[in-house]
Symmetry: C2
Subunit: 260 residues, 2 copies
């Protein structure tokens, strides 16, 4: 009676019922069942789901297991619970849209032919703006980096970064070459950075950027600004990525989708 290969005696794909022999945990099966029923229109936004006790009986599960499934549905924004009243299906709300950097990541992690061209990499005096961002005095030394990322020979992202220069500390290792960016995106290694603040802006390309990215001056692009902090809450890295609009797009699904 343990999970393992698949279905023993039950009919092939018995959706809407818990298969105790499935590799898939019962609570996930329950989540799937309710999402399917909502997507099918059986439960419309605003509708009330059966009470937890009823669900327990119907599927032969213990309250904790049912609760776990419902908590997942809540986290995913599918339902809403009101204590003492019931569990209700949520409507679509635009503000629930959540965009991530998946697309940008895939651009950079294109293993086939991503290369980094270092345009500049040296130690320089911080400009007033950079000094403020990094919490330094104007004129302090920072590592200044300008890089161009190319996939299959075509420029796709321009990065301009400023790193804290502190002879004491081993340079925030990684930020200095290709691996660096890959590491930041994939999350490997990284033990010196505690947190970061990111923002996305819409901009038009200046003369220099346009030249580097081989686009028309004034053409639209995303500007992704970042500030990273170490475990002492000191900002250690400030900079931005510029990516032409024709190479990048953020997408999001909202509401009730049958499958991910």
């Amino acid at each position: 009676m343990k999970r393992g290969t698949g279905m023993p005696g039950s009919t092939a794909k018995d959706i809407l019922n818990i298969d105790r022999d499935s590799f898939e945990p019962a609570y996930l099966q329950l989540v799937r069942i309710f999402k399917a029923q909502i997507a099918s229109g059986k439960y419309r936004p605003g509708a009330k789901l059966p009470s937890e006790a009823v669900i327990c009986k119907k599927y032969g599960l213990s309250p904790m297991t049912v609760r776990r499934a419902i908590n997942l549905l809540i986290d995913q924004g599918v339902v809403r619970t009101v204590q003492g009243s019931g569990t209700f299906v949520r409507g679509v709300k635009l503000s629930a849209s959540s965009f991530n950097l998946q697309e940008l990541m895939e651009l950079i992690q294109d293993e086939n032919g991503t290369q980094v061209k270092v345009l500049e990499m040296d130690i320089a005096k911080a400009s007033p703006e950079v000094a403020e961002r990094l919490g330094l005095a104007s004129g302090d030394n920072v590592i200044h980096a300008r890089r161009l990322l190319l996939t299959r020979g075509h420029p796709v992202v321009y990065h301009h970064g400023h790193l804290l220069y502190d002879p004491q500390r081993p340079i925030v290792e990684g930020e200095l070459d290709v691996t660096s960016l890959r590491g930041l995106f994939s999350g490997a290694g990284q033990t010196d950075i505690k947190k970061g603040l990111m923002s996305v802006q819409a901009v038009t390309l200046g003369e220099q950027e346009a030249g580097l990215l081989k686009r028309e001056q004034g053409s639209p692009a995303f500007r992704l600004e970042h500030t990273f902090y170490d475990f002492d809450d000191r900002p250690v890295s400030y900079g931005w990525f510029v990516c032409p609009a024709d190479r990048l797009l953020f997408t999001a699904k909202i509401g009730h989708w049958d499958e991910e």
Copy 2:
């Protein structure tokens, strides 16, 4: 011995320990405790947390409660678990950045002085592109809407939308005036829309848009395209919002922050 007002005998703010009399559930307290310890640097990225059994003993909690806390930390991207091995603190990864429409929402929901100026609202033949998006034949009727949102008299968002025109069905009610947009953003009402697809692009303003939004032609802006579907999976609404770059910015926090 039940949850209620606050602390009975324990010292004021005994962080790092579970207060059984707090209004805050034990599992949330545990989450807070671990996040604080990680943010403080006690557990660095890559470090291994105590085993669940140890945590149970240390805080006098049952396994399910501890597990629930850890599951939350996993969902929040704070830790990663490896079966048979342990629970480990995750490093910062750029691709975890998640942006939402909070900022845009606040623009529109500025109760003080948001108003909608309807520029156009009529029934027209669908253009080939719109027809394709809405799954219609070119030339079918659609409701065509162009609106300008202003806060305190200043234009901030331009919306261009196309709605399925079907005499059969009560018009996807809401999409037609201010309340509409508010409703979509806040998620009130809405029982006819099942799901939506959104995308964010960087663009430059055309002549007409620039005029309406009182900006320079060619200045940068966000274009937020949307397609909404009903419970029969028919696209019922296609359109886009245009918002000048100087009025909008998407931000995200990644990594380990002490407080939200």
